[in-house]
Structures are given as C-alpha cells and as structure tokens.
Symmetry: C2
Subunit: 201 residues, 2 copies
C-alpha cells in the first residue's frame, strides 16, 4: 500500500468552512483535496492500493488526522467541491473526541492527533519526504511501493515535523527542477511507482 | 511556448452552468479546469511559457475555443471554483459572434470555432497527441518544448479530431502504464519538459 501523508498547517480540522469559499474559509484545505484526488483517482477508477492521510492543523478542533482508504472508499468523485463535501460531512460527524482512527463513512476515518500519531503506524515501511532540491525520485532504487510519502503544504514543513521525520529515517526525494503544487508532486510520485510496480494491463 | 489543447466533447461553451454543481451542469468542464491548473500553475507562480486552449463543444453556443495565456493572465488561482468563475464570466461576456481569438480579460481570449481553428495556428511546431499505449514520452527525443500537446477528455478523441491530428502529423505519446485523468497527464508532460528544457534555478 502506498500512503501519502499531507500536512496542512492551517487546514481546518472541523467542518466549519464554506463550500463556496473553500480556500480562505478552510485554511487552504482545497490544496489538500486536490492532492487527495491525485493520490486516489485514476480514469474511471480508484487506486485500491493507496491511502491518504490529511494532517489537519487549523482551527479549534485541531489537530486531527483524516484518512481516506482507496480500498474501502465509495463514491469518490474528482471535483474539488465533492471532495470538500465528503470531508466536511465526515468532520461534522465526529462524536466528541476520537482517540483512535475511527471509520465514520466507508473508507473515511478520523482521529484526534497529529503527525506523531501517523508515524506510530509506519512500522518498518520506508518513509520519504518530498522536497525541492533532494535526490531525484527517478534515480532512487525503490525496493517496494509499500511505503509512506510525506508532503508539506504551501508553507513547507515546520521544524518539529521535519525533526520527527528525520528521526524516523525518512529519505528526502524530489520530482523535478521546479517548485510544484502538492497535487502535482503526488501525481509524479504515483507515476514513478506505477512505472516500477504497476501490474501489467 | 508549450501549448496544451484540451478537447471537451460536452464542456459548456457558454457561462450557463452552476458553480455549485459544476460537473453535471457544465458538461464536465471541471475536468478541463483541473487540467488548466496543472498546465499553468506552479507553487506561488504562473508558467509564463504555457498557453492552454479549451475546445468547448457542449451546449447551444458551441463550438468555441477559450485560450488562457500564462504570459498575460492575471489573478489565476488554483482552486476549481475560482477557475470556473473566471471561465464563466469570460464566456458570459462574449459579444455575439467572435470570428477571431479576442481577449476579453487579461490573458483570456475566446473565439467561435473548433479544433480546426486551433490547428490553423500551429505552423511548423511539433504536435503531440496524448494517448494510452503510445510511445513513452520519457524516451521521446523532444527537440524543443515550443510544441503543441492535444488531450481528449474522459470520452477520448472523436474520430474526426483524431483524423485532423493525424493529417497534421501529430505524434502519439503516453505518460505511463495507467489510464489517468487529463490533469495528471498534463502534469507529467510538463515535468518531462521541465527536466529537458527548464532553465536552471
């Protein structure tokens, strides 16, 4: 399973945002939703072997982690408003505190917690941090795509997150010469792994 | 200049669609808007060397061509609703018929017309058709990124478009083993060209 962990420094951890004004009212959750689409959806299908973790650090309910599991998620549509509606409804339905990841809709689970709680799930799987100027993913010898990929948002990584990832032995990789949106980075990582590990069609 | 031409078989050629129900009310213009973002926007910046043509074949005002020119466009935001608002306002402001590409907002031009009218602009530049199963873009010897890239939508290319592109000598290329959304294909083409032609940073 490929796991993408998207850290939203300001992204709303509650459903208190407006669908008609997503970027400002949600603390740029829109950027995370586009990356979620890039991670999970291909033409007319869902990637069953991908899970996405959103680390939501904005607003009074923060921090929370929301996970969308491609193997179990239903009715995922690619447009931003549909994905925002799914996340909003899920966050609105959180019953008080959630100490563990709890499935509130098919394939969509939430917990209170932050990056440290996500890292506690990693086990022995390889971890990668996507960042500019690091070694090229194209020339990296991925042994498996059963791996974790961590992305910052438009603000990058905060020092504490960076330290936690380094302590876990995460390897920094990059995807090209320009500074790209998170969704493009996810697309490029998926493509690189598809070329190495995708079953022939 | 890199030029991406996105053909929307059902995408609305008028502003008669609802921002709160974009996929169904606009004939899947949402998919084209996501590809437009992938073509034009990088982190905190616009690609000045990219132009995007939307070939809009849906609704009573069709066919129309809408062009967004990265060198002149202003206030482009990455979220789908903002891009939909820009396209809606532009299409709403079309004054009757437009025989030539006419700039109605900074960097955004519209004309009546279809793929044939776009192809009339190509001149001697190389043309590429993005499609599954074709030769890999990674192993293609691009001589320049002053080139045209044509993408179908979720329905693919209609036979007439395919014939026109073949008559123009367009070369088919692909970007990997899976069938992807148009926006991911655009991201992968841009990345391939960035790796070959982007100026060092």
């Amino acid at each position: 399973v490929r796991r993408f962990v998207l850290i939203g420094q300001t992204a709303s951890a509650s459903g208190d945002f407006l669908l008609q004004d997503l970027p400002s009212s949600s603390g740029r959750l829109d950027a995370l939703l586009r990356a979620l689409r890039a991670a999970l959806l291909v033409s007319h299908d869902v990637r069953r072997d991908v899970s996405v973790y959103l680390v939501l650090r904005g607003g009074p309910s923060a921090p929370r982690v929301l996970r969308v599991d491609g193997a179990r998620a239903k009715f995922l549509r690619p447009d931003e408003r549909s994905l925002a509606t799914l996340v909003k409804k899920t966050l609105d339905s959180v019953p008080g505190t959630l100490a563990e990841l709890t499935e509130l809709r098919p394939g969509v689970a939430v917990r209170d917690g932050d990056l440290a709680d996500v890292l506690a799930e990693v086990g022995e799987a390889p971890c990668y941090v996507l960042e500019e100027g690091a070694g090229d993913a194209r020339s990296h010898a991925f042994a498996t795509d059963d791996a974790w990929f961590f992305l910052g948002d438009h603000r990058g990584f905060d020092p504490a997150s960076r330290e936690m990832l380094a302590a876990r032995g995460a390897v920094s990789i990059s995807v090209g010469p320009l500074s790209l949106h998170g969704e493009d980075v996810v697309t490029l990582v998926n493509n690189e792994l598809d070329r190495r590990f995708a079953p022939p069609r």
